[in-house]
Symmetry: D2
């Protein structure tokens, strides 16, 4: 049975000029700078339906995917991008039923992807010392119905609370070396650790710190993503790209070196 | 409670020289080119335990993560790499409970990642015309205990069987344009479509074909991954890297253009 | 003897905020949006001198290098960038005394670099069918005193004029395959050919055309350049970069395949 | 008049399988692993001529370009690659008649490119503390007839000799910060400085040192080169690429900050 759009659904509305909007279906008009549609017209229509604006622009109502949620969340901080999140999910083995500890919630982008991947039986415990970021992340998670899987906590200083036997730990903080000890204690034996830092100086310092604790299988990488223009007769990369978000560092906990 | 290694467990064994081995804990010795350990000694030890080889090499027994499974599966074909799989999972919204249709099982790398992400309630339907690849993929999935979530099928010609209302479709075949029609029919309204092709000529042709059917939100990208050497005092990228695996193409099904 | 700045010299003026200006030393004030200096004050000073603006901004008068000229020339077209020009000079063996034929003068960026490299005894013959581009390129070359080494010509249709025994030929036109025949005839035996095209479709077509003529040693490449922020304690790449200018194709003329 | 091959000429011989050989035309046979030609048969033939091996392989005799010389020189050290050399030539304004000081001759790759670009009136002064490298570089330069433009010197400790008024200085040494002072003194006012270092730690340290002397217009960059396979119907990048050679740092000398 084809799913139909209901009032209150969160949809991704794609306009004919390529712009996309993440919005809730309510009894109100939606305006772009050149056209508008009545969102109520979508109720009862199947997902994937086309709507024509008053001035003729085509609009398409899509069911949002997690990638849309990530790109559209409200940001007060630099977020971790899907190109990194994808690798993080695989390296940290984030899947249904897992318990993941994160520090540095920020706007909650990675938190959201983790919450989605652990499923209803999993759990994400996320630390953030700034009240306003924690509040924002909570709203971002709530909007997409995933806040129930997330435990929001404040500062991780002087260490994580009672966590132990975590399936993975990820740090997105300025000085991750200060949390390595508590991260190690929180992890199950043999479990994966990850971190993201923007500068090479931080990579060096974190590698050094990891080398002083029982962590093995160290790895440092960066991920670059290049988009192409869509004309099949003149295929070519976009003129500009994101050159850097951060360096990813991974390791595994062991009991002794 | 710390998990302990049991006989028959699949572990990732890391040797002191940085090599890793995915193997089953049995009553047998395990030899590297310069040392060996008795795997039976691991039974009853916690994951993350250290074992010392007869000649002094340290070994660490880790619980394998999905990334390890992907890198270690038996290959008879070019596989899709984690750098692409991560993005695919996010763009196709692969999560607990979803039904995903894939064509071009190959060695089963993407199949495995999909099976892992959809969880026990989800399902992966994968088509592969070559018997030997299908057989290999099945073994790869079986080895890691995920074959129960996967339906293996033969050739997708002249089209997918009864699939409809799929949450996503991914094509990894030489001529994906031939399957666009059946892919479109299999998809839910508004749902994501993806494909990977190695050449620019295929990208052009697929973009053209997508433009002739009710697909929107087209996107073409490539993902590059650069690893770094681990000396914190002499931080620098590895000398060589993988320059290309393929181009990723994504789109969304709508009912009419 | 230290060179001193003379009236009429073309200098690169660097302001304390990192902006640079290519300008001629004349008896006039030079204004940035927040400060100004009297250029006449530079006369008689050594190159590399520091000048302080009326509001305290430091300015430095540098002798421009060819890289500055390239980045500062007046553009009416997409130019070829130094990252490509550097490789082109080496692959085409552009050096003192050489004769180089170019088609697609555009704004004259590559023309300028070629003219500089061939020295006073060398010669650059450049074709451009659009009068306004040819005029612009001529002005750009004149400004830096290199127009004497360049012969400007109009359309290369139906072929180059009398050129033969050229040391190298470079094509920067929309349909380089149409000029391959005349390029081949213009070249010395064994000499290098190059082209730049922005799309993969053009690369395919040009490779095909090269394959039908006596050209060998074909090569296709792209060059990417990533800049870093300058804080030594927080070393990291710039956030964004140029992702694409074009694909470089090289070959060598032989007498028969 | 078409140039003809003479005995003693250094040629680039391209065999049908794509391999290239830089060799001198002498009265001897030249063997590849599957065929051979008599080099004496080339004498009197025009450059670009085709020769057929005894077993049918086609061979082409090309006049070597500077890029060939660079790729074929005898190496005892990591060399600077054309992708970096091209940018260095443009940033350091290396052209006919210039005087360039280099430290860290190594195998002489950059030295050779500099010598070529400065022409017969220019001069390259290059320092190398290891006798065997200096000897090798000298042979490499001699082989291609450029040693007359190069002054080879030993260790640059405690500083360059009498150089002053150099048009540019380039450092390719492990600890370039130790030579910054002498480099500054050797340079003309406003003239360009460059260096190549392989690690991020060295970049940070060099930036710091440059910040303590009268240098401006600092810049850090890396250059990546991606080659493509040559099948026009299946256009795609090579599977692997060089991921790193080094970071390029540039600056300009001023008299005071």
């Amino acid at each position: 049975m084809t799913e139909r759009i209901r009032e209150g659904d969160l949809i991704l509305l794609l306009s004919g000029d390529g712009n996309t909007y993440l919005l809730r279906v309510e009894d109100r008009p939606f305006h772009t700078h050149r056209d508008y549609v009545k969102l109520a017209d979508l109720v009862g229509q199947p997902y994937g339906t086309r709507l024509t604006g008053v001035h003729g622009t085509p609009f398409y109502a899509l069911r949002p995917v997690i990638h849309d949620y990530l790109m559209k969340l409200k940001r007060a901080t630099q977020i971790i991008y899907p190109k990194e999140i994808g690798i993080i999910l695989l390296k940290l083995d984030v899947g249904p039923g897992k318990t993941i500890v994160e520090c540095g919630t920020g706007s909650g982008a990675l938190t959201m992807a983790l919450a989605r991947a652990v499923g209803p039986e999993g759990r994400v415990i996320t630390y953030e010392k700034e009240d306003r970021f924690r509040q924002l992340a909570r709203e971002n998670l709530k909007r997409v119905g995933l806040e129930g899987r997330v435990v929001f906590k404040g500062s991780a200083e002087p260490g994580f609370e009672e966590e132990e036997e975590a399936d993975a730990v990820f740090l997105d903080v300025r000085e991750p070396w200060d949390l390595l000890d508590t991260a190690w204690r929180a992890l199950k034996g043999g479990a994966p650790f990850g971190a993201l830092v923007p500068t090479t100086n931080q990579v060096s310092r974190l590698l050094q710190a990891l080398g002083e604790l029982p962590f093995v299988a160290l790895e440092v990488q960066e991920v670059l993503q290049r988009f192409y223009k869509l004309n099949p007769e003149r295929l070519r990369p976009e003129d500009r790209m994101v050159a850097h978000t951060g360096y990813l560092i991974f390791a595994r906990k062991v009991w002794e070196r």
